[in-house]
């Protein structure tokens, strides 16, 4: 199953989203944003399953948190690769 990485500016945003989703029975992982996806340095991200993405996006809207990007993660021999999602693809 494909994993997704949603990146944010701050760990505080990530922690609020994680706890909000946990209360809804959805477990997402917090992690440091890989440097290749970080535009301003030192970001944090949430890793979730593809089907959990619409819920995460809904929570972001509800809490007025703007993600810095959404990526699909694939594991390859040389490490994880990331492909950006278009906003319109979210929730498909």
């Amino acid at each position: 199953m494909a994993s997704c990485l949603v990146v944010f500016a701050s760990l505080n945003q990530v922690a609020l989203l994680k706890r909000s989703l946990y209360r809804m029975g959805v477990f997402v992982e917090m992690q440091r944003t890989p440097h290749c996806l970080s535009t301003t340095g030192c970001g944090f991200a949430l890793r979730c399953e593809r089907h959990e993405l619409p819920l995460l996006q809904m929570k972001c809207k509800e809490l007025s948190i703007e993600p810095g990007g959404t990526f699909e993660e694939t594991r390859q021999a040389d490490g994880p690769h990331y492909v950006s999602f278009n906003a319109s693809e979210l929730g498909r």
Binding site: A9, S10, L11, N12, Q13, V14, A15, L16, K18, R19, M30, Q31, R32, T40, G41, C42, G43, F44, L63, S64, I65
Partner: protein
């Protein structure tokens, strides 16, 4: 010991607070936002949990608008100095603590003016007097919720409404009310709320916070490490990072989280009822002791659990020392860092003795304190 100094800092702390601090020191080894190992992430979740509990307590819809500070003074400075610029005007009351009076006085040197709404001798500010002071360039109204000297509660709902109607942010100093009097930032039109963690919220010293509504554009007082946007030379715009530069007091916040959970479980209304009962008993008893003058609202009028009094002819410092010697009572004599308030209630020359019960004070302790005050007064009048 009979501890009647809860207005300075609360004691004892609820069960589990000391353990939470100790656990944070022993096990929460990470620095939230700075690293990526699991313990740092766990620490971030603990900090977030505390923000959410505080948000629930104060009716805040977005917990990220609550910024941790070291204490109320820190929060008030952050709010006052961040909200006004040269050429602006601010309003406060004559019951303010030095944490408001001094920053506003210092800002005068930077071209910021302020006006003081005079309270009556009981310490009450008339909202109309605040309204009369509003100018076209008024950018902030600062109001103490409950006086740390007289216990007087200000009509902050009315003042908040008039401030909101005119588009002026109201900063509420909740140093003596948070955890002791219900506060809802929505219904009370509070744009900025400064609160301590170690008083009515029953947490450790070195904790406090500032709620900043989305309506307020606050400039940070300090810039620095936030664990976010590290390559950006500008302070991040997102909250709470914008206002939280530097490593947080994680052990303190862990203790505060535990104590706020306790306050939420017990309920602010229930705590207020108990503290009111104790305070009114104290007031009734003091009123019957010859030579004692009590300041602030009359018996039966709603007030914070703070009682200031003097025994005629005795220095408050000597009264406090006598109470400690006779009955091991911990209280506070002096001016309580509120020179303006003492001018207002007429105690600028002497200061007062302050007794402040808390949620764990027992009725018997109040009775013992009254006996000790009566003994001290009797001794003076005998000699």
């Amino acid at each position: 010991m009979i501890y009647l100094d809860n207005a300075a800092t609360s004691w004892p702390k609820p069960p589990g607070v000391a353990r939470a601090v100790s656990n944070a020191l022993s096990h929460a080894v990470g620095n939230p936002g700075r690293t990526s190992h699991q313990r740092a992430m766990d620490a971030a979740l603990l900090v977030q949990e505390c923000r959410e509990n505080l948000a629930q307590l104060f009716g805040v819809t977005n917990p990220l608008r609550i910024c941790f500070t070291a204490n109320t003074t820190d929060a008030l400075n952050l709010a006052i100095k961040g909200a006004v610029s040269p050429g602006d005007h601010a309003i406060c009351s004559s019951m303010e603590h030095n944490s408001v009076w001094r920053p506003l006085t210092a800002l005068q040197k930077r071209g910021i003016e302020f006006s003081i709404a005079q309270a009556d001798p009981l310490g009450v500010v008339d909202p109309a007097s605040v309204e009369r002071l509003i100018r076209p360039n008024t950018r902030l109204i600062v109001m103490i919720h409950a006086s740390n000297v007289s216990g007087t509660i200000q009509p902050v709902v009315a003042i908040g409404r008039l401030a909101r109607d005119r588009g002026i942010p109201m900063l509420l100093d909740a140093a003596q009310s948070a955890g002791s009097i219900p506060i809802n930032v929505q219904t009370m039109n509070i744009d900025l709320l400064a609160f301590p963690g170690h008083k009515g919220l029953l947490g450790p010293q070195g904790t406090g916070g500032l709620y900043v509504s989305e309506r307020v554009d606050l400039q940070p007082l300090k810039e620095g490490g936030t664990g976010s946007e590290s390559n950006n030379p500008q302070q991040p715009a997102c909250y709470p990072d914008r206002m939280e530069s530097g490593t947080l007091n994680l052990p303190g916040i862990a203790g505060l989280n535990q104590s706020v959970r306790y306050v939420l479980r017990r309920g602010v209304e229930a705590i207020a009822r108990r503290e009111t009962r104790l305070t009114q008993r104290l007031l009734r008893g003091l009123a019957n002791i010859k030579g004692v003058t009590v300041y602030g609202p009359a018996l039966g009028v709603e007030r914070a659990p703070v009682v200031s009094f003097n025994i005629h002819g005795i220095d408050p410092v000597h009264v406090a020392a006598a109470l400690e010697k006779r009955a091991d009572i911990a209280c506070r004599p002096g001016w309580h860092c509120a020179g303006l308030a003492h001018r207002t209630i007429g105690t600028a020359e002497t200061g007062t003795v302050r007794l402040s019960p808390g949620p764990f004070t027992r009725t018997a302790e109040i009775e013992n304190a009254l006996t000790a005050v009566a003994d001290a007064a009797r001794e003076v009048y005998k000699s």
